[in-house]
Symmetry: C2
Subunit: 404 residues, 2 copies
């Protein structure tokens, strides 16, 4: 953000930027529409048939798209649809949580091809990094067994971990203080030789919903993630928004009232950490997931009470989010078992009135997203893919580091 030079200016662009943008537009169009012919693409992108032909030829020789069988649909020469090749690119995603870390390998379409997990020492990042590097190496080996070209086509490593990042030194047990100070990204970049990017867990969840979930093709969506903490992933104008310092959406610390006894952080009321505390569960238990599921299915009184309490605050969070962002939809995702997340969404209804309560809505105001515990790692992996292949403003600029 802060330039070394005192002159502030955006970067210019040239034909390379044009070409990069158009390639990305093609890829996005194929991702959103499944398969399209060159003529379809030309109409949709407003480029000429010839320009599209050249770009598709390039993409095909790069192994990113393939032709399908020609289809006859009425008069005229049959069209040849093209679709993305899943094996056209791969990425590694890493999800670091308090007690556990997960790594996945995904392809261009966001399918998970390999996965691995391991326990993580909460307070010893230097040991933890070794475990992580081993985990990543394992996933890479698995991936290499699936596609011989995987290493060449690996576009990066995405890391997701609980935020917020870069605050004052803090010993807040909600965060992971030892990890906050450790030079994680540099170490991982050295250890893997890959481009490394970081986002918080909620942002990763939103990225996952955008590539393969409920936010696919939606340009304005907010993804509420109820994990150990709670956060919101913001998709604004079709891009993830990270704020001035990368901490946008870190609503766990949001106070529920301006002052007085109700002035509690949201995280203390509506997060799995608060649930564990309420129920006296130990988050380090290996069967914690099953314990929660059983309690929900049994309609355990204390569980139901927590759900009602959390729903009360989440309902209002949705109201505030709608009021502030005017999104097309809000998606609730969670690291909790699906039955629990479903009960939570049900308990949040009826929603509070807001500007989202408008005529002619296409999407529901609130929907249940994924509850797959691997989805954050998936979202982390989707981030480098998105950086490399989605049409972004930054991708046209001369300083753009991304490749496509």
């Amino acid at each position: 953000m802060d330039d070394i030079s005192p002159i502030r200016a955006k970067s210019g662009t040239n034909q390379e930027g044009t070409s990069a943008h158009n390639r990305r537009v093609m890829i996005e169009a194929l991702r959103l529409n499944g398969a399209l012919s060159r003529a379809d693409l030309a109409r949709a992108t407003q480029l000429t048939k010839q320009a599209v032909s050249n770009i598709i030829e390039d993409l095909e020789s790069d192994g990113l798209v393939v032709a399908l069988d020609a289809v006859r649909k009425g008069r005229g020469q049959p069209s040849t649809p093209y679709r993305l090749v899943p094996e056209g690119a791969f990425a590694i995603g890493l999800h670091i949580d308090r007690h556990l870390t997960r790594a996945v390998a995904v392809d261009l379409m966001g399918s998970v091809l390999a996965r691995a997990e391991a326990n993580l020492p909460f307070d010893e990042p230097s040991k933890g990094v070794e475990i992580i590097l081993e985990l990543i190496a394992g996933v890479r080996r698995d991936l290499a067994g699936i596609s011989a070209q995987s290493e060449k086509r690996l576009v990066g490593l995405g890391v997701a971990m609980p935020g917020p990042f870069g605050l004052k030194d803090s010993d807040d047990k909600w965060m992971m203080p030892a990890w906050q100070k450790f030079p994680l990204l540099e170490t991982l970049a050295k250890g893997t030789g890959l481009n490394v990017g970081l986002q918080n867990d909620a942002a990763a969840c939103a990225t996952a919903e955008r590539i393969v979930g409920a936010a696919h093709g939606v340009d304005h969506a907010v993804c509420l993630y109820v994990g150990y903490g709670i956060g919101a992933g913001l998709i604004l104008n079709g891009e993830l928004y990270s704020g001035g310092h990368g901490n946008a959406g870190e609503i766990g610390m949001a106070l529920l009232a301006p002052a007085g006894p109700g002035s509690t952080p949201l995280e203390h009321r509506a997060s799995l950490a608060s649930l564990y505390q309420h129920l006296g569960l130990n988050p380090a238990d290996s069967d914690i997931y099953e314990q929660m599921n059983a309690l929900v299915l049994a309609e355990d009184t204390k569980m139901m009470a927590w759900i009602d309490g959390a729903a009360h605050d989440l309902r209002w969070s949705v109201h505030l989010i709608e009021t502030i962002f005017d999104p097309q939809t809000v998606i609730l995702t969670s690291g909790a078992p699906e039955a629990l997340a479903r009960r939570l969404v049900e308990a949040m209804h009826p929603l509070l009135p807001s500007i989202a309560d408008r005529p002619g809505r296409m999407l529901p105001r609130l929907q249940l997203g994924t509850t797959d515990p691997w989805s954050i790692a998936l979202g982390a992996a989707a981030a480098p893919i998105s950086r490399a292949f989605d049409p972004l403003f930054s991708a046209i600029l001369k300083t753009s580091p991304g490749a496509a």
Copy 2:
């Protein structure tokens, strides 16, 4: 957003898009840095000297920039700095409020060159539009007296009025129901022959702060506007964010608590409307501004009580905004007298803790912005200028309607 064609895709770009982007980058660089030589611009934008030379030549012949005297600064040939020409473009801004409407003409630098105001019938838009068209015509005449080329260089008409827009039919007295239904933009477009754009008052305020105020050159800022209602103008990634349906930032309807007795819209506690009600003032009084000012200067008990109450809720609003957006700064602007706004900002301190409370901050967490009652009209006028001259993603696309 919703295409007629079932195929969804972004538009491609070509050399025209490249050129348009680079022109805009030059203009923005000159706006942010005052005056720069071609060599400076080449370094800042990462374009070649030659490319910059050609673009500057074009801009000069278009009357958008002029050369200043050459400056010697060390070895080498002296550089010739260029600066923007204020008379390079003009725009009209219109601020429609409940009882009053204001029109201004501004130049490329955002200086107000002409202004006019009139009372407006609250319930009769068809009569109101005639008044408005007359007002605009008057401002245009004044502008033509200042610059002979003004008509040729008029890039558009920006309209700001209280939102939210496009909701269910409502007779909420806080809104302007008759105006919501009236085809205002079409009528104004026909009546003036100009491109017309609409934003809500808080967004206009943020646009004004960005072009000539505290948000100049800041890419992540939120502008709280305390007017008859209350709203937030969101500047994210250097662009105004409007949400999925143009109502982002309409926080007046945000409930202050999830349920129960405290569940009041923010607008009922922290807006000038609530102040008028609290003090028993009549907003239609012509000297309402002076009345408020006198009460603040006299430290009137009821006034101070309102300030304390509003500050209580606003302090918390700032906390939530910081938590959700992670902006570089929050700017409080108001249609109230400066003394009142200043007291309000003072009463909001100390601010609540949030992620904005970080080490190494450059900008204050909260600052007082403009209290000029004309600033919304100014912001409305700045919008078409921004659309036409700022580097925007949409400006590189083939469908881009803006001119530069």
